[in-house]
């Protein structure tokens, strides 16, 4: 049993993946609390899926995949804001439009490159793919996101709870929403190596949904979210390591779902 846990730790790639998963868990759980409470789960799905054409395009052009991913995510966020600003298109449908268009563009690019196989890691995540540079980027992004969340904590909480009061006292809820979207885009980009474009949204939603079931204040929600994400992330990595062929993204998401189900069944009603 001990060997089961210790053996992967001797592999440098697994150590890097482990560090990356801890950083991602912290970031995604804190950010995810706002995503879940503000009912932006669908929006975060759109942002994370839209990374695909950005990364594929950047790889085909020989640019940094992170740059491509971030561009695509920001493009999607502004596209949604632009489409839903007109009367007659709800934000919901705007998200649906952007999500499918961007994802279709990604699939078209992948097919054009005749390289489906090379991109499975991108879609579902891969333990072996986290290099030293990736770790640095994940670390910097996570640090930036956590710092922003801490500094704007009271405004983000207020705007998530009572947007009109935030507006009344001049705390600019529209700006705060934009800041949150940018943070989600950054967080999604940081997680894409580990969890994959298709499943990153789960890291925002599942731990925080667990947190909302168990916590009575926002810090408690984040705390439970972090606990769930750490448990799911670490055990998912082990699952992916020991069962060859299971992508790390799938392992992590499945292991996060466990605590959520337990919380859902055990949580008191009301």
């Amino acid at each position: 049993m001990l060997e089961f846990l210790l053996e992967p730790l001797r592999e440098p790639f697994f150590q890097r993946a482990l560090l990356a998963v801890v950083l991602s868990a912290l970031t995604c759980a804190c950010l995810g609390a706002y995503v879940v409470l503000r009912r932006m789960a669908f929006l975060s799905t759109a942002l994370t899926h839209s990374i695909l054409p950005g990364v594929v395009g950047a790889i085909l052009l020989g640019l940094s995949p992170y740059l491509g991913a971030l561009t695509a995510a920001l493009l999607t966020a502004s596209g949604i804001a632009w489409l839903s600003a007109r009367r007659g298109t709800s934000e919901d449908s705007a998200i649906g439009v952007m999500l499918s268009v961007m994802f279709a563009a990604g699939i078209a690019l992948m097919s054009a490159a005749h390289a489906w196989r090379d991109f499975t890691g991108l879609l579902f995540g891969s333990v072996v793919s986290v290099g030293a540079t990736d770790l640095l980027i994940i670390g910097l992004t996570s640090g930036g996101i956590l710092f922003t969340l801490r500094v704007l904590h009271k405004e983000l909480e207020l705007a998530a709870f009572d947007e009109e009061y935030a507006e009344l006292i001049g705390a600019r809820p529209a700006w705060l929403r934009a800041v949150l979207l940018i943070l989600v885009a950054l967080g999604a980009v940081a997680c894409v190596r580990l969890v994959g474009a298709l499943l990153t949204t789960a890291l925002f939603v599942i731990p925080s949904a667990t947190g909302v079931l168990l916590g009575r204040t926002l810090p408690q929600v984040m705390g439970w979210g972090i606990a769930c994400a750490l448990f799911g992330g670490i055990s998912g990595l082990y699952l992916s390591y020991h069962c060859t062929g299971v992508p790390s993204g799938a392992g992590i998401v499945l292991c996060c779902a466990g605590p959520y189900l337990v919380a859902r069944l055990r949580a008191p009603r009301g």
Binding site: A160, F161, E164, I169, A171, G270
Partner: protein
């Protein structure tokens, strides 16, 4: 008093490094005893929508309790939202506490008829009331202050026992009282209330009335209401009908009264 976590000195030190930026410019306007003065005011509830009321001219002195009456759809809510700075005036001019209505003024509080709060949200009532102090803070500032003011406001609106209850377990009336407590903590001089009694049972209503009409409270109130029985308590009654501000009863000779 809320217990402070062990890391709070560290967190305070970090926050001390960040410059403080107020949400809005400090409000130094001098109103010279006039809380609201409007000339030929008209406004629409939403941009490019139909005009809710036209050509309203009135003034409200400080300390005056004003009822805003009229049938549904007569523009009461829109008028209150114009005064709060949430809706721009289409024509005419209006001064609120000596300055044009604008967002970010701690001296003005507004309570919507149906507050649009995210529900459920992991927030205790005490924290909700404490949000009233934010108006005096700004960006990048942690707030632990105002514990006494919060306690006083909770006591005033008889919410002390509920202070640790999650907000989404409160009844409509309790929530309405909590929002009034937040306005008190904010230190607002002018309260703009949109049918605050709509969700209240008699007990809650008594508490709110005792708070609003206390002779010692130095508040200016503009309240949209449907209740004709109430009119005795107000100093002044504005009536909106078919989009026009028709009658202004100034009930002089009441015991508590205006400057």
């Amino acid at each position: 008093m809320m217990p402070r976590p062990w890391w709070s000195p560290l967190s305070d030190a970090c926050f001390g490094l960040i410059p403080r930026v107020p949400y809005a410019r400090p409000d130094r306007a001098d109103c010279q005893g006039i809380a609201v003065v409007a000339q030929g005011l008209s406004a629409a509830a939403r941009p490019h929508g139909p005009t809710a009321f036209t050509d309203a001219s009135f003034s409200i002195p400080c300390g005056c309790r004003t009822a805003l009456i009229g049938p549904n759809g007569s523009g009461k809510s829109t008028l209150l939202r114009v005064l709060a700075g949430l809706v721009p005036a289409a024509t005419g001019s209006v001064q609120v506490l000596g300055a044009p209505p604008q967002l970010g003024r701690a001296r003005v509080a507004y309570l919507a008829q149906r507050p649009r709060l995210t529900d459920p949200f992991p927030l205790k009532l005490r924290r909700l009331v404490q949000m009233g102090t934010y108006a005096h803070h700004g960006w990048f500032e942690e707030c632990h202050h105002g514990d006494e003011a919060v306690d006083r406001a909770l006591h005033l609106l008889q919410l002390t026992e509920l202070a640790d209850r999650p907000v989404h377990t409160l009844s409509g009336g309790q929530l309405q009282r909590a929002l009034l407590a937040r306005a008190t903590v904010q230190g607002a001089e002018l309260l703009l209330l949109d049918e605050p009694y709509a969700a209240l049972d008699q007990a809650s209503r008594d508490i709110v009335e005792a708070f609003l009409f206390a002779p010692t409270a130095n508040l200016t109130i503009v309240m949209a209401t449907h209740d004709p029985a109430d009119s005795q308590r107000f100093d002044r009654i504005l009536e909106l009908r078919q989009g026009a501000l028709r009658t202004v009863h100034a009930c002089a000779g009441h015991p508590h009264r205006h400057a």
